[in-house]
């Protein structure tokens, strides 16, 4: 038994370095949106009498807000769950933003894996329609505490 038995050396990371690495990994995961598409914002702005459109990620639980002439405007039943390849149209009429009832299937479009929002401004002021998702990673993880704050 000439062979010497050496104790296996074990590498131990200090708590400070471990905390730094874990913290930076969380920043990376949330920052790059590794676990999801990350928070999204899509803004459609149209001058009076004009129309515009925008491709957005097809996903659920969008928050929709709008302003007409700089004033907040409530939209009755906006489209919040968007499917890929569909076009969701809005029209501003008599100072109100209205979702048009007909959702058009436009799967032949080049970027058909996304949804498309269009806005026709028949009002006499500038209209801004904003689509937002605020959670990179959804509820039971990082969405905690956000509802009440």
């Amino acid at each position: 038994m000439a062979e010497q038995q050496s104790k296996p050396s074990s590498f131990k990371l200090s708590e400070d370095w471990l905390a730094t690495i874990v913290g930076l990994i969380i920043v990376l995961i949330v920052g790059v949106g590794v676990l999801g598409p990350g928070p999204q914002t899509a803004k459609l702005t149209t001058a009076a009498g004009e129309s515009t459109g925008l491709e957005v990620l097809a996903r659920d639980d969008w928050k929709v807000t709008a302003t007409v002439g700089g004033e907040k405007s409530k939209i009755a039943a906006p489209y919040t769950n968007l499917e890929s390849g569909k076009t969701y149209a809005y029209e501003c009429r008599d100072g109100q933003i209205l979702p048009l009832a007909e959702v058009v299937d436009t799967t032949t479009r080049e970027d058909a894996d996304k949804a498309y929002i269009s806005l026709l401004n028949n009002c006499d002021a500038k209209v801004v329609l904003t689509y937002q998702t605020d959670l990179a990673i959804r509820w039971p993880i990082f969405g905690l505490f956000t509802e009440s704050k």
Binding site: A19, G23, I26, F145, S148
Partner: protein, 371 residues
């Protein structure tokens, strides 16, 4: 055959593997429990805020650190009564959770703020650490505490509680019981201070930054500092954390100075006395501060969109909630009983001195000089 089975049952290898399984099982169970308690805190926090809102109180006066500590304390009591506490103990890593949270907190603090507040924080830390350390050391001498306990206690009160106590103990070769004792005192005193100081700061009308600097300069544990800041306001939380980090940075220098003092004065002729080296400053440096500054630089360089920063803040809150639950779970009083009243007197005297001086220094640096 039966004999063989008995031999296998009692073999050291089998015992060791059972112990490892129990340890990992406890760690896993503890982690799951902590996670569930934190989710409970989040849900309760939402419910409490909603209830206050329904009664026209828009700002929830019971901020989540309080809820988290109370939930942690209740779970602590239940686990001890049912003898399950020691199983889940390995998962209670308060300091680790807090340090992770502080790294992510960097997302909330721009580099400009970090430099401005950090400069004020470092000035305050230098004044506070030197004054409170020397006062505690002097008081400990008057009440005839032994030098190692004086060193551990003075470091804990003047710098940052548990981490400083451990670092100082390493420098002066203090006994394990002394560290346990000081650690228990630190936690027992920090918890009520976390709860009481924010309403006191409100009552005496302190602005956010002065209140934050007061909490950061005075409360011993970083977790309780962040908790008190959070209860007061977002700005107070940021300033409190930066000031406390400034004090944390001092650990290495104090550990080095203590080792030098004990080697050359207290234990001059004692065998086995530790030889101090400058590398000790780096060894004791709180490395997570590097992560904190790095995240702050990334956010200041607009590496992340405002939505992402909002998400990072949410993640930060989540980690802090986990740390606050762990504070409640960590709380214990048993090791205090054995040491008598004199060390408690020194600790309380030093804490009162620390509280008064921190208020004055915070007011001068952040209120008058405007850092």
């Amino acid at each position: 055959m039966a004999v063989n089975q008995a031999a296998v049952k009692s073999s050291p290898v089998q015992k060791e593997s059972n112990a490892v399984a129990v340890k990992w099982g406890g760690l896993f169970a503890g982690a799951v429990l902590l996670l569930l308690l934190t989710v409970l805190v989040a849900e309760l926090d939402d419910w409490i805020a909603f209830t206050f809102k329904e009664h026209d109180v828009t700002q929830n006066p019971l901020e989540y650190p309080l809820t988290a500590v109370v939930i942690g304390l209740i779970a602590n009591g239940l686990l001890r009564v049912t003898n399950l506490y020691h199983h889940i103990k390995p998962a209670i890593r308060t300091e680790l959770f807090l340090k992770v949270g502080l790294v992510i907190l960097g997302a909330r603090i721009s580099l400009d703020d970090l430099v401005t507040t950090g400069t004020g924080g470092l000035i305050q830390a230098l004044i506070m650490v030197a004054s409170v350390f020397l006062f505690s050391w002097w008081l400990g001498g008057k009440l005839k505490l032994n030098p190692t306990l004086r060193a551990v206690m003075a470091s804990a009160v003047s710098i940052c509680g548990v981490s400083a106590a451990i670092a100082a103990a390493g420098s002066v070769l203090a006994r394990k019981e002394e560290v346990t004792y000081v650690t228990a005192l630190v936690i027992i005193v920090a918890l009520p201070m976390m709860v009481l100081m924010p309403p006191i700061a409100h009552a005496i009308g302190l602005p956010d930054d002065v209140a934050g600097a007061w909490f950061g300069g005075n409360i011993d544990t970083t977790a309780a500092v962040v908790g008190a800041g959070t209860i007061f306001s977002d700005e107070a939380q940021e300033v409190a954390a930066i000031v406390k980090l400034g004090q944390n940075v001092m650990i290495g220098f104090v550990a080095f100075a203590l080792a030098l003092y004990f080697a050359t004065v207290v234990e001059k002729n004692k065998e086995g006395a530790r030889k101090p080296s400058v590398s000790m400053i780096w060894q004791r440096f709180p490395k997570f501060v590097i992560g904190f500054v790095l995240v702050s630089i990334l956010v200041s360089a607009n590496a992340f969109s405002p939505e992402i920063v909002k998400e990072l803040n949410s993640a930060n809150k989540w980690i802090f909630a986990l740390a606050f639950v762990a504070i409640g779970l960590d709380f214990h009083v048993s090791s205090i009983k054995e040491m008598g009243w004199r060390p408690v007197g020194v600790f309380m005297g030093a804490t009162v001195f620390n509280t008064a001086l921190a208020l004055l220094v915070a007011w001068l640096i952040f209120g008058v000089l405007g850092f």
